[in-house]
């Protein structure tokens, strides 16, 4: 894990003190709301549908137990006893009081956390693979590179007022677990024939009103030029990105309007210029950071055997665990999607319990995933049953990872002031309808994603089944989409046809799943069947 040095700590502490004074001045009437609003947003504090909402950054989704525990404590001390893990691997609190925010930020700063750059037109929290450092299929641990980019982008003077917000994901595996191709910049770390690590760059991905899959712009940027190349990409965007229209301001629109070739030419010119200015941090800095992401002290000579005689445990192991690179270890996923629950919500007690369990069973580490779940990255197989039993007692053992119950849903009209329709109740109804383990097993992998408006925070464009809430003459209405994906085979979902009311969209979802089950060949996933047979049979069944 990255450890703050004195400069990092001082920067964060100073920001807390500064914001404390700004809040004091606001409450004393020395600042108007117009003056104060940009200041609070710079500290992750939004005004939402019901109250203030605080968004706390979790860089590349990695935390230690002490950090996770503080997240639980904040939920109790300053909020209503729960937190909401988001699609950008952050956590949000929905009921923070303005007067308490400086104290909450001070508590965060004590465990090297903050809410800086979680809002506004700047480079946001950098996301990564939730199995980083643990899975066998990675080229390198992507997190030191994400950390280097985090340090480069934090308070970067040129990039604090970009045309729009800017999202970067870094992965190092062919299996893209971070929706890398749906980010403004996606970086895939690869090795060349000589065995050297370099960065494959993608640009111009994103969801929202005009979704695009990112395009590959460079096969291999030497690792000691990665930051420089990223800087060139962002500079060109900053120079040409449209500022006249908020919806056309994202880099995806620039790349689309200029064309990849023209954009790439500009980047190459800027890159050549920057190489003459040396701005790249020295490799020693990367090595310093890498030294903090060493492997934990895995025991050797462990058995890979697991006693699966308990059928509930077996189901959970089959569904929610993933192969670890070290013999005798496994990656364990906690689904924050109990049947009928609110996707991504966890109570303060659950958060603290997960913190304790990570300490006892996972070398003090946890991850937040973009699917709004939590990961214990390094669990000894011989501890797995004990871990599962403790999770089970806390309603954290739902065995539904990547199935129809593991729904991504944005807060929607229950919390978000931009929403057109509620997302959570639809997620709850679908999760209840397909709640039985047998049904989920029959359906297999199915990624279902729901957004309450076109901003697409719930990633509906990337759902095998996506649901989008729209406003139809003042009433909630839901469009059904099919065929999206977010991994190495990223694709954008297509709308089936006219929308439905809340119950109607749940029924339509079931009809789509029935078409899949009737047409499925062999081990095909929903997505594979859809890709093979196309939209027509689904449409026929849904609108028939």
């Amino acid at each position: 894990m990255y450890k703050y040095d004195e400069y990092d700590q001082q920067m964060v502490d100073t920001r807390v003190a500064e914001f404390r004074d700004q809040v004091r001045r606001r409450l004393a009437g020395e600042l108007t709301e117009d003056q104060f609003k940009p200041l609070r947003l710079q500290n992750g504090l939004y005004l939402q549908l019901h109250a203030y909402m605080l968004r706390v950054a979790v860089p590349y989704g990695t935390m230690n137990s002490a950090q996770m525990k503080v997240l639980g404590d904040i939920a109790d001390k300053y909020d209503r006893g729960y937190g909401h893990f988001t699609t950008r691997t952050n956590i949000q609190y929905n009921w923070i009081k303005l007067e308490d925010t400086p104290d909450a930020l001070a508590d965060l700063a004590k465990v090297e956390m903050h809410a800086i750059q979680t809002s506004g037109n700047c480079i946001r929290n950098i996301s990564s693979d939730q199995y980083a450092g643990a899975s066998a299929d990675e080229v390198v641990d992507p997190r030191p590179y994400a950390e280097l980019l985090r340090q480069w982008s934090s308070f970067h003077p040129e990039f604090l007022v970009l045309p729009r917000k800017f999202k970067i994901a870094v992965i190092a595996s062919e299996i893209d677990r971070a929706a890398m191709r749906l980010h403004d910049i996606g970086i895939n770390l690869v090795r060349n024939e000589a065995g050297e690590v370099g960065a494959e760059f993608y640009v111009g991905g994103g969801m929202g009103r005009t979704p695009f899959v990112a395009k590959k712009i460079k096969d291999f940027v030497p690792i000691d030029q990665m930051v420089t190349y990223a800087e060139a990409c962002v500079r060109v965007y900053n120079r040409y990105g449209r500022r006249d229209n908020k919806y056309k301001a994202r880099i995806k629109i620039l790349v689309h309007e200029l064309g990849l070739e023209a954009y790439s030419k500009e980047v190459d010119a800027e890159f050549a210029h920057l190489l003459s200015q040396p701005i790249e941090p020295p490799l020693a800095e990367l090595e310093r950071i890498q030294a903090m992401f060493f492997d934990p002290a895995f025991e050797t000579g462990l058995s890979d055997e697991l006693d699966l005689s308990d059928p509930d445990f077996r189901l959970w192991v089959e569904r929610n665990t993933y192969a670890h690179k070290a013999p005798g270890y496994v990656i364990a996923n906690v689904s924050l999607k109990p049947i009928g629950g609110i996707p991504g919500d966890a109570t303060s007690d659950q958060i603290r319990l997960m913190a304790d369990l990570a300490k006892d069973y996972s070398f003090d580490e946890l991850r937040v995933t973009h699917a709004q779940n939590i990961v214990f990255p390094h669990v000894k197989k011989s501890d797995l049953y004990a871990l599962w039993q403790k999770l089970e007692k806390a309603d954290l053992s739902t065995p539904n990872l990547d199935t129809v119950g593991d729904i991504i849903a944005c807060p929607g009209l229950d919390y978000c002031s931009l929403a057109n329709a509620r997302s959570i109740p639809v997620a709850q109804k679908i999760s209840e309808r397909f709640g039985s383990a047998e049904r989920q097993a029959e359906i297999g992998e199915l990624k279902l994603k729901i957004s309450g408006c076109i901003n697409a925070c719930g990633h509906h464009h990337a759902g095998h089944i996506g649901i989008l809430g729209v406003d139809k003459k003042g009433k909630e209405n839901y469009q059904l989409l099919l065929g999206g994906s977010e991994g190495a085979d990223t694709s954008l979902a297509k709308i089936t046809g006219p929308g439905f009311d809340e119950d109607g969209v749940v029924d339509a979802t079931e009809k789509a799943i029935d078409v899949y089950l009737a047409n499925k060949q062999g081990d095909e996933r929903f997505l594979d069947t859809y890709r093979r047979i196309g939209m027509a049979p689904f449409k026929e069944a849904i609108y028939g």
């Binding site: 019901h50 109250a51 709850q428 003042g474």
Partner: protein
């Protein structure tokens, strides 16, 4: 009727203009007629309320009911956490929203 809603500066809570002050209960909202802009200018200046705006509502025997579902959710609380709503004890209250 026209009513004025805002958020309380300190707590962020959703509040409703009663004619003399602010209430957490939408049923106490006053019909401001054409005076919404005046109320907003004065109250935002007084620093208690932020993000104030005028909305349409109706009044019937059940009380004041905002015209748009979004404002009804603001008046009530999240429909998916009845324990966090303004009327946590009333399981049927969510029907008022939808």
């Amino acid at each position: 009727m026209k009513i004025v809603t805002a958020n309380d500066l300190k707590s962020g809570a959703v509040i409703w203009w009663t004619g003399v002050g602010w209430s957490l209960d939408v049923n106490e909202a006053a019909d401001v007629g054409d005076d919404g802009a005046k109320v907003i200018a004065r109250e935002e200046g007084a620093q208690n309320a932020v993000s104030a705006y005028v909305i349409d509502a109706e009044k019937d025997e059940q009380g004041v009911r905002p015209a748009h579902i979004k404002e009804r959710i603001r008046a009530f609380g999240p429909t998916v956490r009845l324990d966090l709503t303004v009327k946590p004890a009333d399981a049927n209250a969510v029907n008022w929203v939808i």
